[in-house]
């Protein structure tokens, strides 16, 4: 045991080893697996079976629409809830404190979490698409749509995760994290055209409110990817509005990042 001082390990390397433990940790905890990971797919099975009818003219079934919309729900829960409650828990049980006593920088800590959320979201999306294709005959889109899927997915995960980190700062106890974080999640599902489609059934002021938040745009984007072009008539603006989707998500990303940086704490102050 000799003493040496020298250069530090790169943030990227630390992020990777942190991400590895996070993923490992998540998949070993079966409760987390079932409740956050499998839940959206279960919901899709439920909704798809209950509302199996086709929409007029288009020949697209409601279950196919749900499959696309449920992707937004999946990303939202994994990104926002997993990130938010995970951070609150790490803060409460001293994980953050212990890590703060090592050379690990905050970026590498958050990147580790981001690796978890991205892995989960991709696995989640694959599961939902699989259920959509196998159970509800959802057709797979062509290459150009997959490209949209890729950036939409990345931007959605980033936005939801950053907002999750930011919101974790107001979660006082990890026990209440689930309850607190699910309020905006569930409310936004209902007003953003995820559970209730087409969104035009809602009063127009409510659509305006929903348009301020990212979820509506995520759902709309995923429907663009997986549904035939004719389905755009059922969207609020009668169009897919991809440019606006990117813009709104981008703005929320920046808001999330600023809030993150402003509110991040390594430990509970009141302890």
């Amino acid at each position: 045991m000799t003493v040496t001082t020298s250069a530090n390990v790169s943030t990227a390397a630390m992020s990777l080893s942190r991400g590895r433990i996070e993923v490992l940790q998540f998949f070993r905890d079966r409760t987390a697996m079932v409740f956050t990971f499998l839940f959206p797919a279960m919901l899709l099975l439920l909704f798809g079976t209950i509302f199996g009818d086709s929409y007029d003219e288009t020949g697209v079934s409601a279950s196919q629409v749900y499959a696309a919309s449920m992707l937004a729900y999946g990303v939202l829960t994994t990104g926002f809830v997993t990130m938010g409650s995970g951070l609150a828990l790490d803060r409460e049980d001293g994980t953050l404190k212990r890590l703060h006593g090592t050379p690990l920088p905050v970026t590498a800590y958050l990147m580790g979490k981001a690796i978890l959320v991205l892995t989960l979201s991709i696995a989640e999306a694959a599961l939902i698409i699989l259920v959509g294709v196998l159970v509800f005959d959802m057709p797979l889109p062509d290459a150009s749509h997959w490209l949209t899927f890729a950036w939409l997915m990345l931007l959605s995960v980033l936005t939801c995760s950053l907002l999750g980190v930011a919101v974790s700062a107001i979660v006082k106890r990890a026990r209440s994290a689930g309850a607190i974080l699910n309020v905006p999640v569930v409310a936004l599902q209902f007003i953003s055209g995820i559970f209730i489609h087409p969104i035009t059934q809602l009063p127009s002021w409510l659509i305006t409110v929903a348009s301020l938040f990212p979820v509506k745009w995520m759902g709309q984007g995923f429907r663009y990817v997986f549904l035939p072009d004719s389905m755009k008539s059922m969207e609020a603006a009668g169009a897919w509005e991809l440019g606006r989707t990117a813009l709104v998500l981008g703005v929320w990303c920046v808001i999330g990042l600023v809030l993150c940086l402003a509110t991040f704490r390594w430990s509970d102050k009141d302890r």
């Binding site: 045991m1 000799t2 003493v3 040496t4 001082t5 020298s6 250069a7 530090n8 390990v9 390397a13 630390m14 080893s17 942190r18 433990i21 490992l24 940790q25 070993r28 905890d29 049980d93 001293g94 994980t95 953050l96 404190k97 212990r98 890590l99 703060h100 006593g101 090592t102 050379p103 690990l104 920088p105 390594w266 430990s267």
Partner: protein, 297 residues
């Protein structure tokens, strides 16, 4: 100075921990040991005063300081679903030149639980893993908060041995403990804290020697009239013919006591003395004022 609300946990503490030495922080629960450590570790900003660790400000220069520190917390903050080996390797991956995790697992007797998840480890095993985590980054300075709490005798001795090796490698160690024998065996310097203040500092030898002889036992004729001696010393006849004189006794006091036995024409058949242990010093310092035996008069 460290405050929690209106409660001042640490005040007016001034201490220097020289390199390559083991400094033990002693004190009751709530004496301010952990608060003091937290400030040194950069987890808390001091509410007053300055702290420099390895010449750096633990809060402002946190990033420069952390690669040089090894911190062992009392509990918490370890991934419950990860295995012992995975956890140690994770922390090793944060360091530029980590120690070999396998070597540490072997040394701390954790090899057989390498693949056991943290939540299934026993308290002592968790504690040993926590120590390994603190050491794996090859730190220059180690903070150990009650390192051997919950360990069995064997693990405790291994830990002591490791700490002694750290010192001989030039690593500085600051540890808190409730175990006086631990402090007496390991520490080069001891700081005794009471209600957030430093009650005494010194090497274990200095602290015990300063108190001189603590107890003198004399065997002589039973039933001696002790009143004249009692005016000057704490003396009792514990059993017929056995006399115990307590309190800090210097050379003059010893001479005075024995001179009294001589003047009383007593046949002294045995004299034994006991030096104060660190425990006696600790207890007399940390007791409430006026409660310590022999300090009333």
């Amino acid at each position: 100075m460290v405050r929690y609300g209106d409660t001042t946990a640490v005040k007016g503490v001034s201490l220097r921990a020289p390199r390559g030495r083991v400094l033990a922080l002693l004190g009751h629960n709530g004496a301010g040991k952990t608060s003091l450590l937290q400030v040194c570790e950069g987890f808390r900003k001091p509410d007053g005063g300055t702290v420099r660790v390895l010449g750096l400000d633990p809060v402002a220069e946190h990033d420069a300081l952390m690669p040089r520190l090894g911190i062992m917390l009392q509990s918490g903050g370890v991934y419950p679903w990860a295995a012992a080996g995975e956890i140690l390797r994770l922390f090793a991956s944060f360091a530029a030149h980590p120690l070999d995790p396998d070597m540490l697992l072997d040394r701390l007797g954790l090899r057989k639980v390498e693949k056991t998840r943290f939540r299934r480890l026993s308290g002592g095993e968790q504690q040993r893993l926590s120590l390994a985590v603190a050491l794996v980054g090859r730190p220059e300075l180690v903070f150990l908060d009650e390192p051997t709490a919950g360990m069995d005798t064997e693990a405790r001795h291994t830990t002591w041995q490791l700490i002694e090796e750290l010192r001989s490698d030039g690593v500085s160690v600051l540890l808190t403990t409730h175990l006086l024998d631990e402090a007496e065996r390991l520490a080069d310097d001891v700081v005794i804290m009471r209600s957030g203040e430093v009650a005494a500092t010194g090497t274990p030898a200095e602290l015990t020697a300063a108190a001189g002889i603590d107890l003198l036992e004399v065997r002589a004729d039973p039933g001696l009239e002790l009143a004249p001696l009692k005016a000057r010393h704490e003396v009792t006849e514990t059993s017929p013919g056995e006399y115990a004189i307590t309190g800090a006794l210097d050379t003059h006091a010893l001479a005075d006591v024995l001179a009294w036995f001589a003047a009383a024409d007593a046949h002294v058949t045995a004299v034994s003395s006991r030096r104060r242990t660190l425990e006696d010093v600790y207890l007399s310092l940390t007791r409430q004022h006026g409660v310590a035996v022999g300090a009333i008069k």
